[in-house]
Amino acid sequence: MRFALIGQPNCGKSTLFNQVAGYKAETGNFSGTTVTFTESKVRVLGEVVELVDLPGTYTLAGMNPAEREALAYLTARQVDVIINVVDASHLIQGLNLTLELMELNIPLVVALNMMDDAARLGMKINGLQLQQMLGVPTLPIVANKGRGIKPLFTTAMETARSRQPPERQRYNQDIEDAISATMASIDGQFAPLHPEMVAIKLLEGTPQLIEQVEKKLPGLLPHVQATQKAIEMAHGQQVGFVFNSERRNQAALIVHTVLHQGERYLTWRDRIDDFLLHPLLGYVGLVVIMLIFFQGVYGFGRLVEPPLLAILDGLTAFVITLVGTGTLVSQIVTGLLQGITGGVAIVLPYLLPFLIGMGILEDIGYLPRIAFLMDALMHKLGLHGKAIVPFILGYGCNVPAVMSTRILEEKRDRYLAAALATLVPCAARLAVVFGLVAFYLGPALALLIYLFNLFVIAVTGKLLSRLLPLDSPGLILEMPVYRLPTLRTVVQKAWFRVREFIVEAWPVLIVGSIVLSLLAYFNLASYFDILGRPITWALGLPQQVGVPLIFGILRKELSLIMLGQALGSTNFASVLTPVQMITFSVFVVFYIPCLATLSVLRRELGTKAMFSIAGITIVIAFIAALIARIIGVIALPLIGI
């Protein structure tokens, strides 16, 4: 058995999924958090069921790759029942998709989510009547509080077992005739897909299906195109629009019957935007929120890091007294320990508070507000406000940032957003900036590096958008209502992301650390240093920095740990000058994204794009670090460092 969760963006599919399957899918209070499907096995009525969470989409004929994923999945895999999650507070748009799903000839159950929001907006929905009108089992749930989930899945299982597909709503007669005629020509060629569903989607002009038809039944295309023309002539609208507006009108009819709109009360949720989206105060708010956020992370890290390091260093020293120094074994053990402690020293003080803060901002629904405020500025970079999401996620980790570029419609926008997002210093690079510059030279200089980073991104965006002019229609982004984040989801989300680090990055960190120890033991490091010498020379960095820079590509957080190893001391003040610290940090902030990011770049945008982005970042890193060096040499003495 396979159950598929599908619904419009930000309707709570992933929240429902996580309630059932444990925290496995990213959630957030904005459109497009889920960009790919997540699967998990769950137990329903004693049977093991494959549950899949599909990206949110307003329609199956979606524009961007994340939206297309839903139809692609539903046509490629056997799905026994679709659980259609509908945001009750936006019933018409939700039913729009429901009506479309009813055409797929797959058993369907509707989950009416966010009934609490609907009630707050004064809406009374007659669920039983809705169920009768749709002819589909309809159950109320409150996904984030876990209410109504058991009955939903029991009903879903019963519906799946019955194998009873829903009866779709009818279109205008001329469209119905066109569907029948097209259906006759298809005649089972697309089995197991139902010919009626294929006919409707073909006539609507769904690109994926047209591609398939070109391969399988090229003779059918002229017929389809002629039928589309006829519909367009009769309705005076583009054909996809005709189908969509028919469904939307039917949805409106249903909602008029089942929904009673009462008094709407204005709450803090409605008033808070008077301040946060204010043309002036909104930006003050943005700066204050970001300052609190970064100050919080920095403050926590500063508090936790020294005692933590003291403990870990003590432990390392103790182990070294046991294994001795200078032997191969002791060298491996030292490398191992440094890898382990390096991971702990990054995760606990900086990554964890960052992810918790990020999770809170996401769940409140503030990110789309940032997109609204920053749209004008983003246009200057040749992107629109929606592309701010990859940027913000980028401060956590570039991997989800690159993946989130899927919410953008145009390929060119995805490339540009991905290229710029990889320049955003992720939490690992944050550890380098904080651990080196903030720790030894003060937080103000660290902040300056962040501002300099923004400046460089802006210049890069400007230059790249010269080469790739903007031609997308502009920002279209829904503003969700504010929600209070629940402790449970924030903690689960942070743990989900920390676990990713522990499972995927930490082992690489440890192995990298051991390899480096071995390089030192066999005196091989100098070869790598020679490789990096052109860059380290021009930037005025010690020759030994070559190894940490090259191995930093594995994981950026390796850079700092390996820097300590390469220079023979973790008291960086004694081995690096302040200018060198700044130059090194700036270079690390910009140069080649880490291995994980490179692989996701390749998956999302192709090998060519991956190489071009990696190349661009090296050039930028070199120029930026050189500028930082020059400024540092001139300006640092003036402020007494």
Binding site: Y58, T59, A61, M63, S89, H90, I92, Q93, N96, L121, Q238, G240, F241, N244, S245, R248, N249, A252, V255, H256, D273, L277, P279, L280, P368, A371, F372, L373, D375, A376, L377, H379, H384, G385, P473, G474, L475, I476, L477, E478, M479
Partner: protein
């Protein structure tokens, strides 16, 4: 009957005033995107906020708030008159 003489793009609408959508002067893809968000000719729409420096408009229709870039808003043709709010 009011004819389209009084119609203009949403970009020129006064903040807070409910207006009726006449049509979209947009490419089919864009019209479809607006439709998918639940906006159809005949619907009531109003601008609730404006971001400064040529930023987007915040537009309300059918119980939802959507940020629309100025280029998008300029393709939505509106006029005063009876409209449908869902």
């Amino acid at each position: 009957m009011r004819i389209s003489q009084s119609s203009e793009s949403l970009l020129k609408a006064a903040i807070g005033k409910w207006l009726r959508v006449v049509r979209f002067d947009a490419q089919p893809e864009l019209s479809n995107q607006l439709l998918q968000l639940g906006l159809l000719p005949g619907d009531c729409v109003r601008v609730t906020r404006e971001a400064p420096l040529g930023g987007p408009l915040l537009v309300e229709f059918n119980g939802r708030s959507v940020a629309l870039g100025r280029d998008v808003a300029s393709t939505i043709i509106v006029e005063e008159g009876e409209c449908v709010s869902l």
